[in-house]
C-alpha cells in the first residue's frame, strides 16, 4: 500500500444556521487518499462534498475527528468555474500564482509556465485575456494554474459540471493525460456517477446530509474505460443502488445518455 497523501478520520462538521439552529453536514466521515491516487468523492447534490474539500484544503476546520493533510502550499484547487483574474492574461494568471507559492514552498519549480500552458493546449493563447477564450479553454487554464504550482495534492470541486457534455468529455481526457504525466494525488468531487467511474482509481460514495461514507469502491476497470464496458455498467448499478437511485429500468438504457460519442 502506498503512503497516504491525505487522511480524514471520524470527521464531523456542523454550521450555525440562523437563530440557534445548526446544520449537521459531516458525520463521522473517514477517507484516505493514497499518494498518486485519483479519488472521486461521489454523492447527491448538497451533501457537503464542498465541506469535505474545504477541510482537506485546510480552509475549514472540522468540529471533531482528525484531518491529516499536506501543508497548504502543497495543495492546489480547481473550482466549478475557472475563476481566473479577468484583467490578467492567461500567462499572467499562472505567473502570479506561481510567484505567490514560490516563497512558501522554498524550492524551485521543475517546469516552466510555458510547459503547463502548452500541455493545456493554450501555448498560442498565453497573451489572451480569459474572456476571449471559450468556457472549456478557461477551465483548462484554471487546471493549468493549479498544476503549475506543482502540488502534491490537487482538489477539484465538480470542475466540469458547468460545461456542456461534449466539452466536459474533452476536459476529462485532458485531465487523465495530465494526471498520468504529473502523478499528483487528485481528489475529485462530483455528483456524476459515470464521470467518477471513467476517471477515478477509487470512488468514495457519500450519503445525503449529514454525509457519511457509504462505501469505498476501487475501480479496477482497465483504461481507457469504455462506457459500454459491462464492468462499468455493473459498477454504475452498484453505486446507484447505494445512493438509493434504483428505478428498475434495464441497465442498457441507463448508460445511454453518456454513450453518445
Amino acid at each position: 500500500m502506498p503512503e497516504a497523501a491525505a487522511v480524514l478520520e471520524g470527521v464531523s462538521k456542523s454550521y450555525q444556521a440562523g437563530a440557534g439552529g445548526s446544520i449537521h453536514v459531516l458525520d463521522d466521515l473517514t477517507l484516505t487518499a493514497e499518494q498518486g491516487a485519483f479519488v472521486a468523492i461521489l454523492g447527491p447534490s448538497g451533501c457537503g462534498k464542498s465541506t469535505i474539500l474545504g477541510i482537506l484544503s485546510g480552509l475549514l476546520r472540522q468540529d471533531a475527528g482528525i484531518a491529516r493533510i499536506p501543508p497548504a502550499h502543497d495543495i492546489a484547487y480547481v473550482f466549478q468555474t475557472a475563476r481566473l483574474l479577468p484583467w490578467r492574461t492567461i500567462e499572467q494568471n499562472l505567473d502570479i500564482t506561481r510567484a505567490a507559492r514560490l516563497r512558501q514552498r522554498g524550492r524551485p519549480y521543475q517546469r516552466s509556465t510555458a510547459d503547463y500552458l502548452n500541455a493545456a493546449g493554450l501555448g498560442e493563447y498565453r497573451s489572451f485575456y480569459p474572456a476571449a477564450l471559450s468556457g472549456g479553454m478557461q477551465q483548462r487554464a484554471s487546471i493549468a494554474r493549479a498544476l503549475a504550482v506543482e502540488p502534491a495534492m490537487l482538489l477539484m470541486d465538480e470542475p466540469f459540471s458547468a460545461l456542456d457534455e461534449l466539452t466536459a468529455r474533452m476536459q476529462r481526457a485532458f485531465l487523465l493525460r495530465t494526471w498520468r504525466d504529473y502523478q499528483s494525488t487528485i481528489i475529485f468531487v462530483t455528483h456524476n456517477v459515470l464521470e467518477a467511474i471513467t476517471l477515478a482509481t477509487s470512488i468514495v460514495v457519500v450519503s445525503a446530509r449529514p454525509a457519511r461514507v457509504l462505501e469505498r469502491i476501487d475501480v479496477d476497470v482497465p483504461r481507457p474505460r469504455a462506457l459500454h464496458d459491462p464492468r462499468v455498467a455493473v459498477l454504475q448499478d452498484r453505486i446507484l443502488a447505494l445512493l438509493g437511485v434504483d428505478d428498475g429500468e434495464p441497465r442498457e438504457e441507463r448508460a445511454v445518455p453518456m454513450n453518445v460519442s
Binding site: 473550482f79 500564482t97 505567490a100 507559492r101 516563497r103 497573451s127 479553454m137 468529455r169
Partner: protein, 271 residues
C-alpha cells in the same frame, strides 16, 4: 474609420450652440446678449494674455488639493464601509446628508467659520466632495468578487499580490467614476467659493466682471474655464479610462480565439 463621424458630431454640437447664440444676440435679444464675435475676441485676449492663466492656476491648485484630500478620505471611508457593517452604519447618515447637502450654504458656513482664505476653500471643497467619492468606492468595495478572494486564499497570495492583482483592478472602475464626479463637484464649487469670499481665482474674476455688468467678460471667462475642464476630461481622464479597460476591450475585440470548440477537439485528437 470609426473616429471621424464621432468628431464630426461633436463639432456639429459646438456649431449649433454658436448658431443659437448668434441668433439670440442678433435677432432675439440684441441689447442684452453680447455678440459672438465680440466675446470670442475677449476669449482670444484672455488666452493670449497671462492673467487668465495666473487665475486658472490659483483655482486649479485649490481644486487639486481639495479633490486629493476628498479622494483619500473617500477611499478610506468607502473601503472601510464595504468591509465592515459597523463602519457602514456609522457613516450611512453622512452619505445621505452629504450627497444632498446644499453646497452653497455649507460653503458660507465654512468660510465664515474658518476665515476667508485659500486654506478654508480647500477644506470646504474636500468636505463637499468626500461623500460622493465615498459612495462610489463603497459600492465598488461591496461588490468585491468573493470567488476571486477564495482563489487568493487557496493559492496563498500575499497581501501585496492580493491588493495589486485582485482588489485594485476591481476598484479601478468605481475609483474612476469617483474621480469624475469628485472633480465635477470641486470644479463647480471652487468658483462659487471664490465668488463668495476670496480675492483671486477664476470665480473672483467672474464675480468682478459681474459687478461691473460686463456680461461679455463673464461669458468669455466661463468659456475659457469650461474649455480647460473639458481638456482635463479628454486628455487626462479618458486616457486613464482607456488604460484601465484595456483588458475588457482586448478581450472582446481583436484578440479573440478562433473557433473554440474546434480548438478543444484538436487538443483531444492530439492526446
Amino acid at each position: 474609420m470609426k473616429r471621424t463621424p464621432k468628431a464630426l458630431y461633436r463639432l456639429l454640437f459646438v456649431a449649433s450652440v454658436l448658431l443659437v447664440w448668434w441668433l439670440a444676440s442678433t435677432v432675439l435679444f440684441p441689447t442684452v446678449i453680447p455678440t459672438v464675435g465680440g466675446t470670442l475676441r475677449t476669449v482670444w485676449e484672455l488666452l493670449t494674455g497671462t492673467q487668465f492663466y495666473q487665475q486658472l492656476w490659483v483655482t486649479t491648485q485649490r481644486v487639486l488639493l481639495g479633490f486629493a484630500i476628498a479622494f483619500v478620505a473617500g477611499l478610506a471611508i468607502g473601503t472601510a464601509m464595504g468591509r465592515s457593517k459597523a463602519v457602514e452604519a456609522f457613516f450611512e447618515m453622512f452619505i445621505v446628508i452629504g450627497t444632498s447637502q446644499p453646497g452653497l450654504f455649507v460653503s458660507m458656513i465654512f468660510l465664515v467659520a474658518l476665515g476667508l482664505s485659500s486654506v478654508s476653500a480647500v477644506i470646504t471643497l474636500a468636505y463637499l466632495a468626500t461623500p460622493i467619492i465615498t459612495v462610489s468606492i463603497w459600492q465598488g468595495a461591496k461588490r468585491m468578487d468573493v470567488n476571486l478572494e477564495e482563489v487568493a486564499t487557496v493559492f496563498g497570495y500575499s497581501r501585496v499580490t492580493r491588493i495589486r492583482h485582485v482588489v485594485m483592478p476591481q476598484l479601478a472602475a468605481p475609483a474612476l467614476s469617483a474621480v469624475r464626479t469628485g472633480l465635477g463637484i470641486t470644479w463647480k464649487y471652487v468658483v462659487m467659493i471664490e465668488m463668495l469670499g476670496l480675492t483671486d481665482g477664476v470665480g473672483y474674476e467672474v464675480a468682478r466682471s459681474f459687478q461691473l455688468f460686463q456680461l461679455q467678460s463673464v461669458i468669455a471667462w466661463t468659456i475659457c474655464f469650461l474649455t480647460f475642464v473639458l481638456l482635463v476630461e479628454y486628455l487626462v481622464i479618458r486616457t486613464i479610462e482607456r488604460r484601465i479597460y484595456a483588458w475588457r476591450d482586448r478581450a472582446a475585440g481583436a484578440l479573440q480565439a478562433p473557433d473554440t470548440l474546434a480548438e478543444d477537439a484538436s487538443l483531444v485528437a492530439n492526446a
